[in-house]
Symmetry: C2
Subunit: 160 residues, 2 copies
């Protein structure tokens, strides 16, 4: 039985960053927005917040999932998550942009596959609908769902 | 050398969920908000978005980091991240609430420590400030920073 992942998540630890940058709300928001764009993602919404006395948290919701950041300027550290789905988005480009913008001199990246679906399991095949499935699942045409606009074209997820 | 983590992240795969629930924007938003509250987190902002023809993405930014969800109703699957810092927040309570609300019959959880700081490294000690550190880091009183309101009281992160 083979499996495939609906999503991929990069969990990045950026150490030894530019501390002033980590406390710059506008700079962090711009960097995260640019990271989404350079990765080829479609921005849906974003929220950014600066804490007192320091630290910024922010999330960019993209059609292909989300990018999130939390900064600890006093430690020169930022935690970044780049969660994407599909093969048209390349979160490594966002990672590289953020590495440069944050001035990180030391980092680590963990990549995790999310939503591993057994291809042999008929339950997960959108075309294998039956009377017990909810109405939305009976619509075999998933085009327009951001989750699938960037699917990898595999018969398991291809909907357009 | 001992280390300590600034944050903890639960990455949850909720399989075999209630498919109608996964497509219910208001229900998902309420569940995520309640998950934050039951975990003891302080909600800062939230954004939720429903995709066409189906699927919901949403993030609750909390003072202690964030909770995020992405649903694939057609697969009965939801990816949930519960990223918190400090010891006063218990994300497992949020996990249990979501398990019940989403009706998940099958799940997995990966826990990851974020921001591992070497305690022996003076650079990361907020009280060990010097002339080269930015102004914000010279303020030894970090009270009010959401990242630290819920710190574990260890001398390494205690700021109030």
């Amino acid at each position: 039985m083979t499996t495939q992942a609906l999503g991929h998540q990069l969990m990045v630890e950026f150490y030894d960053c530019d501390k002033q940058m980590l406390d710059d709300l506008a700079g962090i928001e711009k960097a995260m927005q640019d990271a989404a764009i350079v990765s080829g993602a479609t921005i849906v919404e974003k929220v950014f917040h600066r804490f007192s006395p320091f630290g910024v948290s922010g999330v960019v919701v993209i059609a292909e999932s989300h990018l999130a950041i939390h900064t600890w300027p006093e430690y020169g550290y930022a935690a970044v998550d780049l969660f994407t789905c599909g093969t048209e988005v390349d979160p490594m480009k966002g990672f590289e942009l953020l590495e440069e913008r944050l001035g990180s001199q030391n980092m680590s990246v963990v990549e995790m596959k999310r939503g591993l679906l057994p291809q042999a399991n008929g339950v997960h095949k959108p075309l294998a609908v039956d009377a017990e499935m909810p109405d939305f699942a009976k619509n075999g045409n998933g085009a327009g769902n951001g989750h699938f606009q960037h699917s990898n074209g595999n018969a398991h997820t291809k909907v357009a």
